[in-house]
């Protein structure tokens, strides 16, 4: 009788396969703890200052500082398709921060996304970028954070959708998206371009938001810099698909990255505002390098004929407009509320805003950023110099907001209607 023997052998094979799979899964998902340190480490002079510049370029504070009086105490909630992830306390408080992390533990977190105690961090923390930081930069960053004032701030519990609350699953994401090969410079490009590429990729992690993500939440690098999203804002493409109605010059871009304002072109709002907030504290030469690198992509955008170069106020709706009532309401809101500051006739002053035909948000492929700007305005953090735009969320009704956005899209940018405009406006009133 061959049957039972063969069946038994098959069972053994299946068992062996299951055991191998279990070992593989364990290897993918499990990481050991690294022993805590008990004495505060000491650093050579200059390293902490260098670390401060690395932290600025890495835009760490954008997520890890919520209250400016409590720097790096964490608590910022980042909404992702997999749930809300809260940034953690990265001050050297031994109980609630990273005070008992050795340099080895810190380096592993930066390169592999593993906490000191061995649990896997969610890739909302962009370790897939920081993995390419040089050892010297990681060490300087460690020196910087370990010398910040320790703050007591326990981590908030993440609100993940099932099954993503099970952290070991991140191990599979790492298998797909964590590339720990060191940064490689491109010999065909200038030293400045390569420095900019390193800053953009390994530190400022520009593509984390400016590149779309796959359904698994990884960077879709086939569509590098094609535009993505962050915190419900549309994040503009930085390549040939750039929505900007005016071509970006390298100088405009450098000013924008340093100050959040490119005169006559753009003002940073939403998540980009805190990026500019961080970059302000970086070395100017590094920001220039970043501008050189990013501009090499933006320069691929074709010159387009847009209303942005047309001077003057936006026009009244045409009498034969098929959506005349809404366009009239939109124009009325524009003329009576927006034009007070945005009209092209205003002289240069601290209150001068962009003529709206130049505002990039009008040219975005979806209306989310414009809606946020209209409702929430632009408010610089306490004590920081920047443009202040008052929000109109409490002033305009949904109907008025929809009409305004539809009017600006058609008569400001001369672009086809946003099909999801009304839905996006009604979706979430702050």
């Amino acid at each position: 009788m061959k049957g039972p023997g063969r069946r038994r052998r098959l069972w053994w094979w299946l068992l062996a396969l299951a055991a191998v799979l279990a070992v593989v899964a364990f290897a993918i998902m499990w990481r050991p703890a690294i022993a805590p340190i008990t004495a505060a480490p000491r650093f050579e002079p200059g390293l902490v200052e260098k670390g401060a510049r690395v932290a600025a370029l890495g835009t760490c504070a954008a997520c890890h500082t919520v209250d400016p009086s409590r720097p790096f105490a964490g608590g910022f909630g980042l909404d992702t398709p997999f749930g809300t992830v809260y940034s953690t306390n990265i001050t050297p408080d031994p109980r609630t921060g990273i005070g008992n992390w050795s340099e080895e533990a810190f380096t592993r977190a930066m390169r592999e996304g593993v906490s000191r105690d061995g649990h896997l961090l969610y890739p909302a923390f962009p370790y897939n970028h920081y993995a390419r930081m040089t050892g010297d930069d990681v060490r300087a960053l460690y020196a910087y954070f370990m010398t910040r004032p320790p703050l007591d701030a326990p981590a908030r519990t993440n609100e993940m959708t099932f099954p993503f609350g099970f952290r070991p699953l991140v191990g599979f994401w790492n298998l797909l998206y964590l590339d720990d090969a060191p940064f490689a410079s491109d010999p065909k490009q200038s030293a400045e371009w390569n420095r900019g590429a390193y800053v953009a990729d390994a530190m400022a992690h520009c593509s984390a938001c400016h590149t779309p993500r796959t359904r698994l939440g990884g960077p879709d690098n086939q569509r590098f810099f094609d535009g993505g999203e962050a915190e419900d804002w549309y994040v503009p493409a930085l390549n040939a698909r750039s929505p900007s109605p005016l071509p970006w010059s390298r100088e405009h871009l450098a000013a924008y990255l340093r100050t959040g304002i490119a005169p006559g072109h753009a003002a940073a709002g939403g998540p980009m505002q805190s990026v500019a907030e961080n970059l302000r504290h970086a070395e100017p030469a590094d920001i220039d390098a970043l501008a050189t690198y990013i501009h090499s992509f933006l320069a691929q955008a074709p010159e387009r004929a847009t209303p942005a170069t047309r001077p003057g106020s936006l026009p009244v709706p045409k009498a034969d407009d098929p959506d005349l009532a809404r366009m009239r309401l939109g124009h009325e809101v524009y003329a009576n509320a927006c034009a007070r500051c945005h009209d092209a006739g205003r002289a240069e002053s601290s209150g001068t805003a962009l003529p709206l035909q130049q505002a990039v948000a009008l040219y975005d492929p979806d209306p989310r950023s414009l809606i946020h700007l209209v409702r929430d305005g632009i408010a610089p953090p306490d004590g920081e110099p920047a443009r202040w735009m008052p929000g109109f969320g409490a002033i305009l009704s949904d109907e008025q907001t929809i009409a305004l956005a539809a009017y600006l899209r058609r008569y400001g940018a001369g672009q086809a209607d946003w099909p999801d405009l009304a839905e996006q406006v009604r979706k979430g009133k702050p």
């Binding site: 009325e332 009576n336 209150g351």
Partner: protein
């Protein structure tokens, strides 16, 4: 154009152009001079009033967009002889120097206390951030808002016991 406005619980009919800022209507048509003209660009907050309970800078609110929403001004909170809780707190803390920003400050604070009767100091600071004071009485203003919140809490506690 003719507009019907609801201010401090009273209905008013005004005839004015669609682009007239609510601030001008309040001051020039209705004689409610609490809200002040500061910058006219929504940058300083001296003109702050509430619209359905939310603080807005009335210099950038065209009268045409208001509709049936309820407008609240400092005059609605109390009188010189019977000041409201916030007004009394500002008096007690002597929070005004020149006083130009105070009506706006009080209305912004009122919107906070309506929504969060027991705000933290951090919440007060954040909420009051858009309104500027050029005399520099910010610390007294913050104390006045704190005092009003504490008074309301004490009153509330007293009422329940």
């Amino acid at each position: 154009m003719s507009y019907e406005l609801q201010v401090n619980g009273k209905r008013h009919r005004v005839d004015t152009d669609a682009d007239t800022p609510l601030l001008y209507v309040l001051r020039n048509e209705l004689g409610l001079n609490g809200a002040k003209f500061g910058c006219g660009l929504g940058q300083c907050g001296a003109c702050t009033v509430t619209l359905d309970g939310a603080p807005v800078m009335s210099c950038i609110v065209p009268v045409s967009v208001v509709g049936a929403r309820k407008i609240g001004t400092v005059e609605g909170l109390g009188t010189a002889t019977q000041p409201g809780v916030l007004q009394q707190a500002f008096i007690d803390e002597q929070a005004a120097q020149c006083g130009y920003c105070i009506a706006g400050m009080i209305m912004r604070a009122q919107a906070l206390l309506d929504q969060h009767p027991a705000p933290s100091d951090e919440q007060i600071r954040r909420h009051m951030m858009p309104n500027l004071c050029r005399c520099g009485t910010h610390m007294r203003i913050l104390r006045a808002v704190r005092r009003a919140a504490d008074t309301l809490k004490a009153q509330d506690g007293g009422g329940r016991s």
